[in-house]
Amino acid sequence: MFEMIAFYTFAFLIIASFIVVVTSNNALYSMSALASGMILISGLFFLLNADFLGVVQLIVYTGAVIALYAFAMIFFDTTKNLIEVNSKKIIFLLISFSTILLVFIMTAPIKSEAVTALHPIHQGVGNTQDIGIVLFTKYLVPFELAAVMLLVAMIGGILMAGKKMDMLVANEEIQEATK
């Protein structure tokens, strides 16, 4: 009973806030709605016994990603309203693609009834310990690769959004023009 109330509350709130994200004309409203949706999704993760992922969702998405968007928004002039496309062709494409995808999503669990767990969840062991054991034994190489990827992304982000970058680009243009 509790699970049902929690699921429906979270589900409706998430859908409502994400609809605000994609339909709002004001980028600031969109960003706030996105943040609230992310926090509510972490509630769903706690409901699904994935405590570790719920906390990661809170820290990474609302702590890092939304903060990054908020800082990047300083650079943009988002007061201008851009013209949106509303052609019949795009709506038709969206509906047909959604329908095909929905059939696949809903029939996939029926097809995979005989699936056995590759890394079963242990009863009586905390979710974080369970994830840690699997992550540092079976998924160690992807984990290290993800760490290197995050480092590369951090360096790239600093380099591209840094103050010197527009001057670098301008210098290159001058050099090309004088050649």
Partner: protein, 103 residues
């Protein structure tokens, strides 16, 4: 009346959120909104993976969701850096301004 929440509930929620994100990607012309819609799609997939992980008693789904979160974080860092450069040079975040790249 059956009061328990099944896997299908979560998959339906996940697909609804995915379609909201897809609608945003297709219809919006603002590049920043495109990034928001991409985040929505990644989160929708995460919900599906974690739900399957819970209902099948398998940790693999949570592992995949974990790596998707890492990829989303680096995507935002790189993408926003590129977007800042684009805005500095062209003074717009309109998607159609990218068509000048066409040869």
């Amino acid at each position: 009346m059956n009061l328990s929440i099944s896997l299908e509930h979560y998959l339906l929620l996940s697909s609804i959120l995915f379609f909201i994100g897809l609608y945003g990607v297709i219809v919006r012309k603002n590049l920043l909104m495109l990034f928001f819609a991409t985040e929505i799609m990644l989160n929708a997939v995460n919900i599906g993976l974690v739900a399957i992980s819970n209902y099948y008693g398998d940790l693999t789904g949570q592992m995949f969701a974990f790596f998707i979160i890492a990829i989303a974080a680096s995507e935002v860092a790189i993408g926003l850096g590129l977007l800042v450069i684009w805005f500095k040079r062209h003074n717009t975040v309109d998607l159609d301004s990218l068509q000048s790249m066409k040869g």
